[in-house]
Amino acid sequence: MIVAEQKPINEILDMIKDLKKVLVVGCKGCVTVCNVGGEKEVSILATSIRIARKKQKKEVEVGEKVLERQCDPEYIEELKDIIDDYEGVISLACGVGPQFIAERFPEKLVFPAVNTKFIGGAIEHGVWAERCAGCGECVIHYYGGMCPIARCSKSLMNGPCGGSNHGKCEVSPEIDCIWDKIVRKLMAQGRLDDLLKIRPPKSWLTARDGGPRKMVREELAK
């Protein structure tokens, strides 16, 4: 899933400081599951805004709405009937949501309330970790099912650098050295030969380096 985190509330308040009517819009997709943009967080943000503006003695009217997903235009359409009551929209979806809203309602101000972080999963309750960098050409089968592109701080493709330390990355003891894991796993599997092969430089053409990406599936697209 897409993992995101909420922006500091003061930043959000600053974005909307000149508005009197805002609509807070959540999404029931990834951001609900990662506890950042579902029904719960919509209410928390809306309440926080009300308290803050009451404190600032600046009137505000905050609406609350949660959409099924903000990455499909049909659901964005559901805002049609209520959006006119507001000057601006705060989206708690990943980076896709506010853009879809902005595209659909060009006259409205749209604000992102979350920072989209990475593609990852929950390794335990409340802890998410990055697993994929969206490079466009998956190579994890060479590496025991682990991705050095997303999970090595230096995206090294040919083995651990000299900074690997007790299974942790030189960048921070919070980060696992993925190469330590890859080496141990492949050696345990008796795949030393694979480790000794020199992997050639990767083509980044499939990644974002090749320009903004778009995908058309001929068999699906109209």
Partner: protein, 311 residues
């Protein structure tokens, strides 16, 4: 007549079978050419080649290639260092051509410390290719006369290719294979991380020799004289992949107040003596960090002065 890959002084010394000594010069944090020249004077005549670091520890410094040029003017044989952090494959290849064009003949290929350690932690890193891919790219440019994309180079760069090796980083059991991988990729010489734990290094070298890796490439053992107990502690705890055994720290402490530096140099000299006898070791790489002025003394004490002249 011997066939040289680049014909650098270092390559010649090694090929002639001498026990090589390389030094290191950290470029200044500015365009202070005088400082570079001063450091060069300390080293001149005492080392066979001088490594010039490339934004070491991700701190911005005078560029490696520019510093190399100054050293060359001072009559030293510089080793151009390049890390994968700051350049993509285009910039790398053009810089490689650049140094070769100016007569620089050694190059050390590294991954580079992560930028979060340095003075611009907000920077975007590149890591387009990794150090091993860099080694093979340089080799391809030199030996096949081709760019990475396979297109021909008009006058290929002649460089003696080096790589780094840290026998003390984890996973230990893999380190010797990683060394093999670098040699397979095309490394002509290896400079190791500073060695303090001689026991572990002996074990490592035994595996290197067993695998015959020392016959395929020159291995220079990294030596850093310790200036103080504080420095030793810092190295032991703060620098990733560094193994400073407690007895070394004890020994420095035991030397008494104000005498730790002398003891540090003594330890370094003892290490060099042992390394001279160690099978598979072709020389040492002396990294006297911000302590270049003591290099002559160490080289002399280790019986490695004067340096041989090979033509």
């Amino acid at each position: 007549m011997t066939e040289y890959k680049s014909g650098s002084n270092l390559e010649k010394v090694l090929k002639a079978g001498h026990f090589a000594v390389t030094g290191e010069c950290g470029p200044p944090r500015g365009a202070n050419v005088e400082l570079v020249r001063k450091k060069a004077q300390y080293l001149k005549g005492y080392v066979d080649a001088v490594n010039v670091t490339d934004n070491q520890t991700a701190v911005v410094r005078l560029s490696s290639w520019a510093t190399c040029l100054i050293l060359k003017q001072e009559g030293l044989d510089p080793t151009f260092q390049m890390v994968c952090r700051d350049r993509n494959r285009l910039a790398m290849q053009s810089d490689i051509l650049g140094v070769a064009a100016h007569g620089i003949k050694n190059m050390l290929c590294l991954s580079g410390d992560h930028q979060t350690f340095g003075d611009h932690p907000e920077a975007k890193n590149v890591y387009d290719i990794d150090s091993i891919q860099l080694i093979s790219m340089v080799k391809k440019m030199r030996d096949e006369g081709k760019f990475l994309n396979g297109e021909p180079i008009d006058v290929p760069p002649k460089l003696f290719i080096g790589a780094a090796c840290n026998p003390f980083a984890e996973p230990y059991e893999f380190r010797v294979y990683r060394l093999a991988k670098k040699i397979n990729a095309g490394a002509d010489f290896i400079q190791t991380q500073c060695i303090f734990n001689m026991k572990r290094f002996r074990e490592f070298m035994k595996r290197v020799v067993d695998m015959g890796l020392h016959e395929r490439c020159y291995i220079l053992a990294g030596i850093t004289p310790l200036k103080s107990v504080g420095m030793a502690r810092y190295m032991a705890t703060k620098v990733p992949g560094m193994d400073v055994p407690e007895e070394i720290i004890k020994r420095l402490k035991g030397a008494g107040k104000g005498k730790a530096a002398e003891e540090g140099i003594k330890i370094a000299v003892e290490q060099i003596q042992e390394l001279k006898e160690m099978e598979g070791i072709a020389g040492i790489h002396l990294m006297a960090i911000e302590w270049e002025e003591r290099v002559p003394e160490i080289v002399k004490a280790a019986g490695l002065y004067p340096r041989p002249k090979v033509d």
